[in-house]
């Protein structure tokens, strides 16, 4: 029968073998930490991207010529507005400004609330500009000469805002050398979601050079890039899995040898097979649960407090030093990870323990 004395004794045995368990504890914690960190980073990136996506209309229209993006005109807006089912078409201005001194591109985005003399920059941009002594203002080199803007505000860098400079629309046109009736892309509002795909095809029929992306297309693109099956995510998961199987192998071999004798001793003094299983279950549950929660906790601190140094550069490149990850914890995924790590970890001990417990122990304990 399982009782307090039994649980206390199981913990006593766990502490007795703490050196052996420490190895499993550290390896398991590291695996959970690595897997959780990857999850937190990918979930946070996806969250920020999807938030940005939600603010956009259902269809994004961009023009291309010879495979390169070229501006759209008022004519495009008028034609698309004629398509039945389209409620509104908004021309948007944005693009990239090349900052030659640092060989970096800045993403110029329009913010109507700004006047013609100021701009909002990300903390990443701030640190780049500061390197060249632009601490309060910055001079853009445009076709019409120099355009000076004051730094009004600095916003946190996230995956969307990292390289962003927000400016007034007229200034944006000036910096990007775009005419009054030119737009970088069009935001098409379609009230009926079921018509989105049909209207997309209609737009392509109208202008074969045009690239049409629906919100779902973009979502799929983001999912693909930051999904666990993709690229670096997959590699890191494979590393985690290999480490995990090494850990399991170590777990299994630990049950044989000296532990086999110990199991036989306990059997000889009256432990039933179920008692042996429960003894091992208690010991390894303590190790697995402590490792799991410590791994997740450390990953949270690592990603959301320290900004995931090293891993951040792997995922987002060397320009990502100022990016802050929005704290997003997907409990469902963590639960799935719990099931796929803690249960095999326990099984790797309980199955061999059971196998030994059912053996004839008289030869082992002579």
């Amino acid at each position: 029968m399982i009782n307090k004395n039994f649980v206390d004794f199981s913990i006593l045995l766990l502490l007795k073998d703490k050196k052996e368990y420490l190895f499993s504890f550290f390896i398991f914690t590291f695996i959970v930490f690595l897997a959780s960190s990857i999850l937190f980073i990918s979930d946070s990136i996806k969250h920020d991207l999807f938030i940005a996506l939600d603010k956009q209309h259902q269809i994004i229209v961009k023009n291309t010529k010879s495979g390169r993006y070229t501006p759209l005109s008022e004519e495009h807006i008028d034609s698309i507005l004629q398509i039945s089912g389209v409620d509104n078409v908004k021309g948007k201005v944005d693009g990239y400004y090349y900052f030659a001194q640092d060989r970096r591109y800045f993403h110029i985005v329009v913010d109507e609330s700004l006047d013609e003399h100021s701009m909002i920059i990300s903390s990443e941009i701030k640190s780049i500009l500061a390197k060249f002594k632009y601490t309060t203002q910055f001079n853009f080199l445009t076709q019409d000469g120099i355009t000076s803007l004051d730094i009004k505000k600095v916003i946190k860098s996230n995956i969307i805002s990292n390289d962003v400079i927000l400016v007034n629309e007229d200034i944006a046109r000036k910096i990007l050398n775009m005419d009054e009736d030119e737009y970088s892309y069009l935001d098409v509002l379609v009230p009926n979601n079921s018509e989105i795909d049909f209207i997309s095809l209609k737009i392509v029929d109208l202008y074969p050079d045009i690239k049409v992306k629906t919100k779902n297309d973009l979502k799929s693109d983001y999912e693909y890039v930051f999904y666990y099956k993709g690229g670096i995510f997959m590699i890191l998961y494979i590393v985690s899995m290999i480490s995990f199987f090494i850990l399991l192998k170590n777990q299994i071999s630990s049950v044989f040898g000296e532990k086999k004798r110990e199991i036989a001793i306990f059997r000889s003094i009256g432990f039933a097979i179920k008692d042996i299983i429960f003894l091992k279950f208690i010991q390894n549950s303590v190790v697995a649960l402590c490792s799991y929660f410590l791994g997740v906790f450390l990953a949270y601190i690592f990603v959301f407090i320290f900004g995931a140094p090293l891993l951040k550069n792997i995922f987002l490149g060397h320009d990502a030093s100022h990016i802050i990850f929005t704290p997003i914890v997907d409990v469902k995924t963590l639960f799935v990870m719990f099931i796929f790590t803690v249960i095999p970890f326990l099984a790797s001990i309980l199955l061999p323990a059971w196998k030994i417990a059912v053996e004839d122990m008289s030869e082992v304990i002579k």
């Binding site: 004395n5 039994f6 006593l12 007795k16 306990f266 059997r267 009256g270 179920k274 008289s362």
Partner: protein, 225 residues
Amino acid sequence: MRSKILIRNLYKIYNEKKENEFFALKNINLNIKCGEIVIIKGISGSGKSTLLSLIGALSKPSSGDILVNEQNIAKLPDIFSSQYRNEEVGFIFQSFNLVDGLSVYDNVKAPLVLSNINQDELKKKINLALEVANIAHKSQQMVSNLSGGEKQRCAIARALVNSPSLILADEPTANLDKNNSLIFVDILKKFKQLNKTVVVATHDTIFDNLAFVDTYVNIEDGAII
């Protein structure tokens, strides 16, 4: 006197119906009464340890019956045979079979953790067993730091802690010097006074011609002679 252990037509065959079939025990019949001290004598490989492990339900016989307190333990399911070992039997092994890394106290405690007794009663039982085995003064020592004789007394304390009515000792003096072997013989006397039924499997001559021993059983090639 009432039978404590009644063995009828007991066989233990290893690798049954295979080329290397081996009869470890052949047609064993034995009647051990309550409170008796029985010495099973025989050379190594004669089958005495196998007989002890069958009486202790550590393994199952190929055929035959082993009645302990009139209950056949030969075919008990694991849960009941484990309960029988825990409550009815105290084992003393040649190699002591203590759990290294635990103290004497914790080793002696091990059989009690299966029962839901309170801490006071637990301590009382352990201390009593330690006193009887004369190892109370080493209770907090790690078993790995004990001498052979002390380890033996720790094993005896563990065998006694649950107040079993049957003590099974397999070559208990094989790893002991002469003095400690004599101490064990004295402990056997104590068991007799406590009305325990004791079965000792040994080839040590120190157990020969002891006045308090009730029965000597000689075993050779798996059969009682």
